[in-house]
Subunit: 392 residues, 2 copies
């Protein structure tokens, strides 16, 4: 049977990353490709205990309010108040099925086909797909070691660009690893005020800082910001609990759209998330352990890359999050070399998968979060073998 | 701050039902308004045991494949094979966050703004919202005691209507309570072939039959059918596990769109759903108990309505599912009487909330599933007091 797809779906790029997950599911492949926190780092016992406690309440198995469990919205509001530095009201929090759903709902609530949207280049592919599905006109702005080049954006705005949304992964960027600097955050909030756009501050990694927290959120500098958060990188992806905080009319619109999208997020996993996020002493200790383990993995990966590749590549220096960004300086093209790397038992995502307008064929994203240090060493050795054989 | 919403969101009707849930959350109100299975009927202990078992596996807390957990897709395919009477392949199953998400993704994957879609009248409000959000041109077809009036649809098609989708809640209709008769099912599948549309057979209630199963699914009569299923009404809404089975190109498209909508449904709740659905002996016994309890509640509600209202109302005779449909014969308008009913401590949904083009001001939907028989008697007594006072 032939089926005609909607115009907008035909515009959505498949996720090379998720397609890769199928390839890399073979047990002999060490994957640096996914954006997965290692399961060994997730607090499975604490979650199991929270699940058992939650199931004592009949409400845990029932439908819940579309905007989210009241207790969870309160906890998120409290955390966000601490991070943003001004009062965030629980009514300004909408719980979503992961922050990916928050992004999708924001786009659907605000965008008409053809509306201009600024994305980063390299881009978080999940954001690219959302804006393609919404039919947006994409305007890429490059990302460098200090995050999005807000000065470039300022020039485009001065030249007449009037986006409805500007999307940024502000801290420990996916895929670039970079963190938006404090001056750029302030400037971005100011530009949002001046030109009337909304900043989507996508922040799933902000709590995963190795050396002290990242700069204050963009939302601390102005109120034309919707912040997206998630439990996926700090508790467990399988909770499927994320949220947005933002202007009241946007929250109302997102809630209405969520009604017809999936009615509500799981009451059960929301109770568990609220339990864990509100357990201050446990959560602080867990984050400390998680950050230390990720820091150790980042050091193992970047150390191995330096030792195997020397100055044949440059590698970003991770200060948090899950990713480092590698660029070859000797003409090797990671996109072309992926099949050979898979033969050698290692996977990564070529930079081209994240490119909007730039040539990123010399780059690759490596995730250091999914594997322990020894595995990361082995993975880089395999990468060296695959790439050296190509170079010789 | 003022925000301009997307054109399509402005077309989405708020759900009177979910808005009502806020009003009826007061403990003194007995709610016949929700579409909730009573929490006392949900297998909470069995789910708790399944959760505990699932958490032994590290994969339970991790991201999963977008199309769903392999084991769950296999179990659903096996069940669907049994119900539809021909082989359903696991590759033709996509797991979604409740069947509401399946409906939303099907609409987004296939519809461009302005595309004609046939909906039932009265309509499942969640479907109405989905098609409004997709910008569809809605063509209502009435529902009577045998389900959608497929003969009326046939006339419209003969007169030139060319819908892309025809949506129907085929068994134990929400809100009408009716089940599409076997001849109408066969005719609908035949019309889909002849005119090239896709039937969306929305079937969350089909397993909740009191007196033997409903007629064979529409999908048994042809392959231009996408079937939607859910665990929400037979296991627990908080699992947020539903699915669609349908033509391969549609499954591929829905999977791609789900990537950017929420990445994947919870691995944990999918493991639990697969465990319970595959436990044949337990599931059969659970369904027997659930059906018996719902049947008892349906009888209690309709008996009380007959005794309190006599021939001042007609009431559908439930043969399964969760709803009965009441119509006043003496000029009372349930929509107008709702505030008074709430004062008397009882809630329902007026027929007007489900109307697309018809005048349903004499009707109301009553849910018998959420409350035990004694509460249902009390609720109808309160309704009688509220309505009689209005009539006098």
């Amino acid at each position: 049977m032939s089926l005609t797809l909607s115009t907008r779906l035909r515009d959505v790029r498949g996720s090379a990353i998720r397609d890769l997950l199928a390839l890399t599911a073979r047990p002999e492949v060490i994957s640096l490709a996914g954006g997965l926190p290692g399961t060994d780092l997730l607090p499975r016992e604490r979650i199991a205990a929270a699940l058992a406690a939650a199931m004592a309440d009949p409400a845990a198995v029932q439908y819940g309010e579309t905007a989210g469990l009241r207790r969870l919205r309160e906890v998120v509001a409290e955390h966000e108040t601490g991070r943003v530095g001004r009062a965030v009201d629980p009514a300004g929090v909408v719980v979503t099925s992961g922050s990916q759903q928050a992004l999708d709902l924001v786009a659907r609530a605000l965008l008409d086909p053809g509306d201009p949207v600024v994305v980063e280049d390299p881009v978080y592919v999940g954001a690219l797909q959302v804006f393609q599905a919404a039919g947006a006109a994409l305007h890429p702005v490059p990302v460098d070691d200090e995050g999005m080049a807000v000065d470039v954006l300022a020039d485009r705005l001065a030249a007449g660009l009037r986006p409805r949304l500007v999307h940024t992964v502000s801290s420990f960027h996916n895929p670039r690893g970079a963190t938006l600097s404090a001056p750029r955050r302030a400037l971005l909030a100011e530009l949002a005020e001046r030109y009337g756009f909304l900043v989507v501050e996508d922040d799933p990694y902000g709590l995963l800082a190795f050396d002290g927290p990242p700069p204050l959120p963009i939302a601390a500098h102005g109120d034309r910001v919707v912040r997206l958060g998630s439990t996926s990188k700090v508790l467990a992806p399988a909770l499927r609990v994320g949220w947005l905080t933002g202007p009241a009319p946007l929250c109302t619109a997102v809630e209405r759209l969520k009604q017809c999208t999936d009615l509500c997020t799981s009451s059960l996993t929301q109770i568990v998330a609220a339990d864990l996020l509100a357990d201050d002493a446990w959560f602080a200790g867990h984050l400390d352990r998680l950050r230390a383990a990720l820091h150790e993995r980042a050091a193992a990966l970047t150390g191995a890359v330096a030792s195997v590749f020397g100055d044949a590549v440059t590698c970003s220096v991770p200060t948090g999050g899950m990713f480092c960004w590698l660029e070859s300086t000797d003409g090797l093209r990671p996109a072309d070399l992926l099949p050979r790397a898979l033969e050698h038992g290692v996977a990564y995502v070529p930079g081209t998968a994240f490119a909007v307008g730039r040539d990123l064929s010399a780059a690759a994203r490596l995730c250091f979060a999914s594997n322990p240090p020894q595995e990361l060493h082995t993975a880089v050795d395999r990468l060296g073998a695959a790439w050296h054989r190509a170079a010789s």
